[in-house]
Amino acid sequence: MQRLRLIVVPMLRPVIVVAVIFRSAEAVREFDKVFVLTGGGPGSASEVLDLFTYRVAFVNWDMSLASAMGIVEFMAALAAAYVFFRVVTRGGREA
């Protein structure tokens, strides 16, 4: 147990960080399951970001509002990517 906690997990840190970041990014991008299971309902209780953008663009056909939302989402992705990129390149030099 100690070997696992003190040696294996710390050594795997860069890998774990990568996995966490990718998983959270994918969780934010979740679309399929919500779309099929609830369609955002009941009401808008399960309306995730992707689904909301989709509805604005392809149900209400408000392309410009959806584009504006897309730009903000893209900025958020850029920020996440920057953090991730730093982790990957720095983690590499240590390993």
């Binding site: 147990m1 860069p14 890998v15 960080v17 990568v18 996995a19 990718f22 990014a25 934010v28 991008r29 679309f31 399929d32 779309f35 099929v36 970001l49 992707d50 953008t53 989709y54 663009a57 392809f58 392309m63 959806a66 584009s67 897309g70 730009i71 989402e73 893209f74 992705a77 850029l78 996440a80 990517a81 920057y82 991730f84 990129f85 990957v88 390149t89 983690g91 590499g92 030099r93 390993a95």
Partner: protein, 281 residues
């Protein structure tokens, strides 16, 4: 400390671990088993309330969905879109991954960053511009539409994954081959690619699966004739009732190739995911 979670001996510990993993495995596989069973049942058996009891298996659901309701067509669409997108992504992404694994130039680093941003971006961000472009080009409802759309996430994926594998190939090998008079292209095609056959196959299959499972772009860029399997499946949930048996049948057929391929490349999958993290950037 009393009541330890882990027994003291190694064999005891192994036993606890095996049991734990077995429980998790069963929990994760049960829904899939449910799906497979449902696809083989008639309508009465599906709602009998007893999922795992004996029943008379029938292939009616497969026949109804694929032959009568034309899901064979969707299967073909999915195959065409996924293989084309995968082939183009590999043709573009693999050389790019190699180049980016060898460069130290700022522009190269910047390109890598852009590729990463593209991977982390919500797909819906590109859905709007892609739809407008495709509509203006008259490509909505063709195979080209979803193929191009899938490339927006497949190419960064292939680049990042292959770059990780190429980083594991020592630079000295490049230098030795170039020293012996091979051109870079010749080295790349006759030495490097055969050497990374396993990773190449894993990346290709992963790209294939990603494209195969994609829903959103397929939803907005296809019509009734070119819809892929994930796009067409919800059409079985109708106002007069949901055809669970047929949905399950389509589900089984959709997951079957993914399952087979995943088992084939299982060994390379984990390494590919984490390869970029451990090698130096």
């Amino acid at each position: 400390m009393t009541g330890r979670l882990m027994p003291r001996t190694a064999t005891g510990r192994r036993r606890v671990l095996t049991l734990g993993l077995a429980i998790v495995l069963v929990l994760m596989l049960l829904p899939y088993l449910w799906l497979v069973l449902t696809s083989l049942k008639n309508r009465t058996d599906i709602f009998s309330g007893d999922v795992f009891s004996a029943f008379t298996p029938t292939l009616d659901n497969f026949r109804l969905a694929f032959i009568q309701k034309g899901f064979a067509r969707n299967l073909l669409n999915s195959t065409i879109v996924a293989t084309t997108a995968m082939a183009i992504a590999m043709a573009v992404g693999v050389p790019a991954g190699y180049a980016l694994s060898r460069t130290t130039a700022r522009s190269g680093t910047f390109l890598l960053f852009v590729m990463l941003a593209a991977r982390l971006m919500p797909v819906v961000v590109l859905a709007v511009p892609l739809f407008v472009i495709m509509a203006n080009l008259g490509l909505v409802g063709t195979y080209a539409g979803p193929v191009v759309a899938h490339l927006t996430f497949l190419v960064p994926f292939v680049v990042w994954m292959m770059r990780g594998f190429f980083l594991a190939v020592p630079k000295e090998l490049d230098e030795a081959a170039l020293m012996d008079g091979a051109t870079r292209a010749r080295y790349f095609f006759t030495l490097l690619l055969p050497m990374t056959r396993g990773p190449l196959a894993a990346t290709a299959i992963f790209a294939l699966i990603n494209s195969w499972n994609e829903l959103l772009y397929g939803l907005i860029l296809t019509n009734k004739l070119t819809a892929t399997l994930p796009v067409a499946t919800p059409s079985l949930m109708t106002p007069i009732g949901t055809f669970w048996g047929q949905i399950a049948a389509v589900g089984v057929v959709t997951t079957l190739p993914v399952l087979v391929f995943a088992l084939l490349v299982q060994r390379h999958i984990v390494r590919g995911m984490t390869g970029g993290a451990l090698s130096d950037g």
